[in-house]
């Protein structure tokens, strides 16, 4: 019953976004168990069988995808599964297939510069700050992925870690900053 409702919600959501939000493209088989919020004017590409869910035990958290700039891109592969994930892009975030993200954040910008005026920082660009996450990556709860890095395939990020540097494929990392376990 719960699955059917989720599928129905997904179908309505896809239909709504197909008509009114041309910057979002969603593949077939979207399932929404909890709220999904897409904000901003950038581009969002979501693959097939995308699942949106909350984290078990906390009703207030939901999935947010923020594309803050008209040129920003979020690309999500097939069979991805987000549990209360918060993703905000100013440049480009690409996420591979079969990815599991639980209650954590992915961000590719600092939003402000370190100068006193706190304006948009001038040294950020798409090459430097883009985040790419490989296939079959699992990210544990209360962890965070910062800007300008690449996470390889089959990586496991332990709960509560802050990923600040690139991670090679087939590794498991933990801690702040994230190091191999």
């Amino acid at each position: 019953m719960r699955d059917q409702i989720a599928r129905l919600r997904g179908a309505i959501y896809s239909l709504w976004y197909g008509y009114f939000r041309k910057n979002v493209s969603i593949g077939t088989g979207l399932r929404i168990y909890k709220k999904l919020r897409i904000s901003g004017s950038g581009r969002v590409d979501i693959g097939r069988n995308f699942v949106v869910d909350g984290i078990c035990g906390d009703r207030s958290q939901y999935v947010t995808l923020d594309v803050l700039h008209p040129d920003s891109v979020i690309r999500i592969g097939n069979n991805a599964r987000f549990h209360a994930a918060r993703i905000s892009a100013k440049f480009k975030i690409s996420i591979g297939d079969d990815v599991l993200i639980e209650e954590s954040g992915v961000i590719d910008t600092d939003f402000h510069s370190i100068e006193k005026k706190r304006e948009n920082s001038s040294d950020e660009n798409a090459e430097k700050c883009s985040v790419s996450i490989g296939d079959r990556v699992s990210i544990g709860s209360r962890s965070f992925v910062t800007k300008g890095l690449t996470i390889g395939d089959d990586v496991i990020v332990a709960p509560g870690s802050v990923v600040a540097t690139s991670v090679k494929a087939c590794m498991r990392v933990c801690g702040n900053p994230a190091r191999p376990l």
Binding site: C56, G57, S60, L100, S141, G160, R172
Partner: protein, 207 residues
Amino acid sequence: MGFISKILKNPIQSLFYLLAIARGSVYIIRYRILNNKVRIKFPFAAFAPVRITGPGSVSIGKGNHVQKSIFRGLTIVTLSPNALVTIGEKCLLGGVTIRCRQRVEVGDGVMMANPLIQDSFFANPEYAISRIEKNLINETRPITIGTNAWLGAESIILGGTKIGNDTVLSAGAWCLGTYTGDYMLVSGNPAKKPLPIDKLLRLKGIA
């Protein structure tokens, strides 16, 4: 007599306390009716919401407090039918999140400030598809927290951790398979080697 003088000293606080006790009693009755695997003992002071879900069994001792915090009260999730969560007496459980697949044991008089206690790596390990370390994903090890321990704010406790009596975890500490003896200080993400508090106090010249 001491009880009455306490009430007279700060009547507003005691009114809030009585309201919390009433709220806690509602939770006790609710879980007794709806879920016979959950046992909460009276008195249970709930200043913030309490959520207990899942097929496993939960037992909470008497005299526990649930304070207000950003994580909105106490959350206990049992992820499998044979999961077992036991919490001792007179604990402070503000903003605690427990996700249990096997066994979580908390002693008496434990102070906690919104920690995450999770005995498996992922809450949904069946969807973590990685070609390496299949056993790490599926691995669950029991967690034990001793009496009178103090878990600092936002600390994270993962599978296989055993925390001794009177031990202090500093804020943001991260434990995976950490074993500490009694009266130790654990800090760092990931956790460094536990330090005996007796020695620290002696170094500082306090005791």
